[in-house]
């Protein structure tokens, strides 16, 4: 048996780099096995293995390799991991290598090397700017079935996993005096200076290794190598208790009041997170001050076929060489318009690359030093040549055109400060023509900018501005901070004269690599009138890919400016918006998924209901017992029927603890209640309860419930389960804003009290067994709508309300929550011989529909008291919330849909809520609509389905027939309009 050979890391130099050669890591890319080392990214390991082709482009399926070595990467997007952990569109440049990593290239079919869809390149004109709006317009019928699926397949990015994510995600909060974003030379200096001044410092770094550009360069700081200097700073930071360094953490958004969003990749660098650990953690960071030390992104240059694999940013080529000891090419041409990039020749040459030439359009009198044998050409690269990767470039210089063979073009159009976080609150960056860079237009309060992000491109300047920013932050917070001594750094030049000109060519020259937007596309947008950057962006899709155009935007602006013949500063910019880097939806959801999407409320007797085998349903935030199935009951219908019959014939017990309960006290409690409720409450005597309705200010019904007067200055009001919070808020608004002079205090007691409905002809007999014998429960002592404080036989203090929702002789008994379990068990134990049944929401609903009581379905925010048959309750003797608006003619118009009952003419037919009422014989168009069924239930008492609904002129049409048309369930049932009180309309049972 043969063991597959693992390719040698052919492009890795024998020594150097910030990698751990003692820890080789195996990984797989597109089915091939490779090795890298600890400290590699997926990208650097692929470079070390000589892999140059990493993906195919979005529209034209052109071969693409690495452009960058950082978070700005537009090309090297891969699917990482497999199965349900598969993660599309991951940038290989920021994916930390781990043993067993599996990655797959995207957007190619059937394989990366041989991609059939590359034929799109021949259809190039069809995919020009605005192609969505042009090419696929005709015929219109082709859009859904032909064009869109075709575009989707061709333009697909990675595939997401389809199963549930097996990993967990968290959210967390952090607070600090100073947030430093970026641990490069400026960030490290700022963090340390602030920490020494005693500030609580949080230093967030996107990379798994702090150091920023110092890791990718050969600069010496303070007499030691850059990485060693970084190590010293990090060691001191680690020794300080007031510093927290967060690696693998991208600050992706800047929000009001010093709030920042950050994503910590806790376990993205291991195949599977260890037990109990999240994959990623979403941070909300609140910082009193902030220093952006986010560095800069290098600008690509524009020339024909500048997207060929092997055409790379110069800084990236140096990073792969210096940090990862990997050569991105053997034969190198540097093409740059600035001094910084000239160092590429020396750095790559030191690792054994042959540097052919440095091509720079600037007429230089003092050229930066170059290694022996490297030619300096004053000129430009016009075109890259090659098939699947670059083989040569055409250079225009000194009056002639030359062809230089090479396998790596290291290009640089200078560095663009990374100012995204400074712009997230709306301030657009401002173009500084003199220094040829963007500067923040205005900085959010409390934010300072340091290092390359501030345009301080040399190490010395970066260190100095980092220190300055820290001192400014400390001073602003009232701390004294000393200006730290700056370390020695060898002199550098950041001289730069930006090259904007683009060589004339019929070949493609890419501005936005990820969205395949070319120079021609941007120019076309200009010709077609989309000259504003915001319009050009949307028309061409430039900057709208997952990289948000980090490498593309400036070049596009320069093109638009040239097209308009005006400076960049006058052309404007688009705004950066959060997030700076893609953030997984799973991280945003955190632990709030599945049943934990939001918290669930459980009543105090929930455990008892579980023991009874109750089937539960969600009711708002609550889980409530829907019904209590017993042996031989095949469905909810049989269980509900038994529960209703037991209640109507003997006694039923239901947990109604979910109702909102508000304790109202104070000398003005009566006045407060009187103004809140639409019906008269002033005459309510102590020891009595009354049904009441509250209106909104617009006159619509807000909620209903009962008001019980517990003492002269103390009331208990109940709300529906659904509206408990809304009613409490309404009361707070009324008290705090409308009537602040009322001396009234109220507080929710919903969680303090559990409450059980005990309903049915034997309800008094049942209560007799649990209420202490000295309490008189007779009709005389405790009539309908009476309230009493009682003790149970075990001494528990309880409240007894003789109120009824079921229409039966009924009570509600309230006990402190910890007594709920004992109380329900005592009731059910004693109820056995009486034929008692526990009933759930189905039976509760059926019985209230039988009685014609309104509930949430009818109190839907669109119904007036008149609509619900409650108009007579509206007091004419007092003012109350909603009084004036409720008198509007439109709300009392008898033609409005109003509450009535419905029964199917053929009693065997089933009714469903949501059915619309149309005249018998009508087609059932919208024009025929006369209202709709709000509630429906099977009535065990009547033996057929019944419903409540809102029907135009309903109360005037009792006895008429209409059709209940249910287009969702495809039912058409002829129904009879009837009195909504189907059972005991005179209320004899209530009082009996």
């Amino acid at each position: 048996m043969t063991v597959p050979t693992v390719p040698h890391q052919s492009a890795r130099s024998a020594a150097g780099g910030l990698i751990d050669r003692s820890r080789p890591l195996r990984f797989r890319f597109d089915g091939r096995d490779f090795t890298g080392f600890a400290g590699d990214t997926l990208a650097s390991a692929l470079v070390a293995n000589g892999v140059r082709l990493l993906g195919r482009s979005f529209k034209y399926h052109r071969p693409r390799g690495l452009l960058s070595a950082g978070p700005e990467e537009p090309n090297a997007l891969v699917e990482l991991r497999g199965g349900d952990r598969r993660e599309p569109n991951t940038r290989a440049t920021v994916a930390e290598l781990f043993d067993g990593l599996e990655a797959t290239s995207q957007n190619r079919w059937p394989s990366l090397g041989f991609d059939l869809l590359a034929v799109n390149r021949l259809l190039g004109p069809a995919f020009a700017a605005g192609f969505y709006y042009k090419t696929f317009m005709w015929p219109a019928s082709f859009w859904e079935r032909v064009y869109e699926p075709m575009i989707r397949r061709a333009a697909g990015l990675g595939r997401i996993a389809t199963g549930p994510d097996p990993d967990s995600y968290e959210k967390a909060f952090a607070f600090c005096d100073l947030l430093v974003v970026g641990a490069g030379p400026a960030g490290l200096t700022a963090a340390l200076a602030a920490a020494r001044a005693g500030l609580r410092v949080l230093l967030a770094e996107e990379d798994f290794r702090p150091g920023g550009r110092l890791l990718g360069e050969t600069r010496r700081v303070d007499g030691v190598g850059g990485a060693d200097w970084v190590g010293r700073q990090v060691a001191e930071l680690a020794s300080l208790p007031n510093v927290r360094v967060m690696l693998r953490t991208s600050v992706f958004g800047s929000y009001d009041h010093g709030t920042f969003g950050a994503i910590e990749r806790v376990n993205d660098h291991v195949p599977v997170p260890p037990p109990f650990e999240p994959r990623q953690r979403l941070w909300r960071i609140v910082a009193r001050r902030c220093v952006l030390a986010t560095g800069a992104i290098e600008r690509p240059l524009l020339f024909a076929d500048n997207d060929l694999p092997g055409v790379m940013l110069a800084g990236a080529a140096r990073c792969y060489a210096n940090r990862f000891a990997a050569l991105a090419g053997r034969r190198v041409v540097v093409f740059a318009d600035n001094d910084d990039a000239w160092r590429t020749a020396g750095d790559l040459g030191a690792l054994g690359a042959e540097v052919v030439a440095v091509v720079d359009p600037r007429p230089l009198t003092h050229r930066p030093a170059l290694p022996a044998g490297v030619e300096a050409i004053t000129g430009t690269v016009r075109r890259a040549l090659g098939g699947r990767s670059v083989r040569a470039v055409e250079v225009v210089g000194n009056g002639d055109v030359r062809r230089l063979d090479c396998d790596l073009v290291a290009m640089s159009g200078g560095w663009m400060p990374t100012l995204h976080l400074a712009s997230h609150q709306g301030a657009r960056p401002r173009w500084d023509e003199g220094r040829a860079r963007f500067a923040p237009g205005s900085v959010p309060p409390g934010m300072g900018i340091a290092g390359a992000a501030n345009g301080d491109f040399t190490t010395r300047a970066a260190l100095a501005s980092g220190a300055e920013a820290a001192v400014a932050a400390a001073t602003a917070l009232g701390r004294r901070a000393g200006q730290p001594p700056l370390p020695e750094v060898e002199p550098e030049s950041d001289a730069h004269a930006p090259l904007w000109a683009v060589p004339a060519s019929r070949r493609k020259c890419f501005v936005d690599f990820q969205n395949d937007v070319t120079v021609a596309d941007v120019e076309l947008a200009g010709r077609e009138g989309f000259r504003s950057p915001e319009l050009a962006k949307r028309y061409t899709t430039l900057g709208m890919a997952t990289d948000q155009g980090k490498t593309a935007n400036l070049n596009a602006l320069a093109l638009l400016a040239a097209d308009r013949g005006q400076p960049i500063a006058a052309t404007g910019t688009t705004t950066y918006r959060p997030p700076y880097v893609p953030v997984a939806i799973a991280a945003l959801a955190g632990p709030h998924r599945g049943p934990d999407f939001r918290p669930t409320r459980l009543t105090a007797a929930h455990g008892w209901a579980v023991e009874q085998g109750a089937v539960f349903m969600e009711a708002g935030a609550w889980l409530r017992a829907q019904y209590f199935p017993q042996a031989g009951e095949p469905s909810w219908l049989e269980s509900m029927t038994r529960e209703v019959n037991a209640t109507r014939r003997a006694v039923g017990v239901c947990d109604v603890s979910t109702l909102g309960k508000i304790d109202v006290q104070g000398p003005d409690a009566c006045e407060f209640i009187e103004r809140l409720y639409a019906n008269g409450m002033r005459t309510l005597a102590v020891g009595r309860a009354r049904y009441g309705i509250m209106l909104r200010e617009d006159g619509m019904v807000l909620d209903d419930g009962t008001v019980s007067r517990l003492a002269e200055q103390r009331y208990l009001v109940t709300t529906t389960t659904a509206n408990a919070v809304a009613v409490f808020q309404h009361m707070q608004l009324c008290h705090q804003v409308h009537w602040p002079t009322l001396d009234v205090q109220f507080v929710s007691v919903s969680d303090q009290w559990a409450q059980f409905s005990v309903a049915g002809p034997r309800s008094r007999d049942l209560l007799r067994t649990v209420v202490a014998p000295d309490h008189d429960l007779s009709n005389e002592a405790l009539p309908f709508m009476a309230v009493a404080a009682v003790r149970l036989v075990d001494g528990t203090r309880a409240r007894l309300f003789r109120i009824s929702f079921s229409g039966e002789h009924a009570y509600e008994i309230a006990v402190p929550a910890r007594a709920a379990d004992g109380c329900i068990r005592a009731l059910m134990r004693a109820g056995g011989p009486l034929g008692a049944a526990a009933y759930g929401l189905e039976a509760l609903g059926a019985m209230r529909i039988e009685k014609g009581h309104v509930a949430g379905n009818e109190l839907n925010g669109q119904t007036s008291a008149h609509d619900l048959g409650l108009g007579r309750l509206l007091s004419t003797k007092k003012d109350y919330i909603g009084a004036v608006m409720a008198r509007r003619g439109a709300l009392t118009d008898p033609a409005r849909p109003r509450l009535v009952g419905f029964a199917p003419v053929d009693r065997s037919q089933r009714l469903g809520a949501g059915a619309h009422f149309v005249p018998v014989g009508a087609a059932g168009n919208a024009a025929d609509d006369q209202g709709f069924m709000t509630s429906a239930a099977y009535s065990p008492t009547l033996g057929h389905w019944i419903g409540l609904g809102l029907l135009a002129r309903g109360p005037e049409r009792i006895g008429e027939r209409v059709v209940a048309l249910d287009l969702v369930r495809n039912r058409r049932v002829e129904v009879e309009v009837c009195n909504p009180a189907f059972v005991d309309p005179n209320g004899d049972r209530l009082r009996g």
């Binding site: 967990s168 968290e170 967390a172 939001r598 918290p599 409320r601 006290q665 205090q745 919903s750 303090q752």
Partner: protein, 199 residues
Amino acid sequence: MARGHDSLPAPGRGGRAGAEPGLIVRECAGLALASVLARRGALERASMAVRTAFGVDLPLAPRAADGRGVTFIWSGPAQWIAEFPAPVDVETVLAAALGDAAAICDQSHSRLVIDVTGPRVREVLAKGVPVDLHPDAFEVGDVAVTSAHHVGLQLRQLSVAPAYRLSVPRSYAGSFWTWLEHSAAEFGYEVLPSAGGQG
């Protein structure tokens, strides 16, 4: 005892095993709680009455004040939670002291009250509590009326150790524990047998 839906699970360790649990949690059973809401314009009277009866000033900021046999915990402008370490008829006791200076309402059964401590307690709480609990910002006796995992939460610091007392509505106790357990799992946690109110 199996895990209740409105109490902590049975005593024992959970989450990552290790020498020392990162979070130690214990239910404070048997507390007596009441809402105390000053009547309009009666703040001074209420404060005087509390000082006389319990030897402590009502806190006017998010703080807790320990009096004789009772702690007054700020819960909003002119309102407090009075916490007694053992069951007592709170409405009677407080009404006797405050008279008509405040509205009193028994809340003894309305909350799950737990004490949390341990070397990683701040990191655990940071996963849901949007309050800066660093010692520079939050001290012993400080109180926060806030939320965690969309559950209303009252929190106060009991000791420098640090230890905190958390109180959530009883009906949310199960969901709150789900969050706390998940948040503490990576550090390991231990549930202690429930105790009276003296944290």
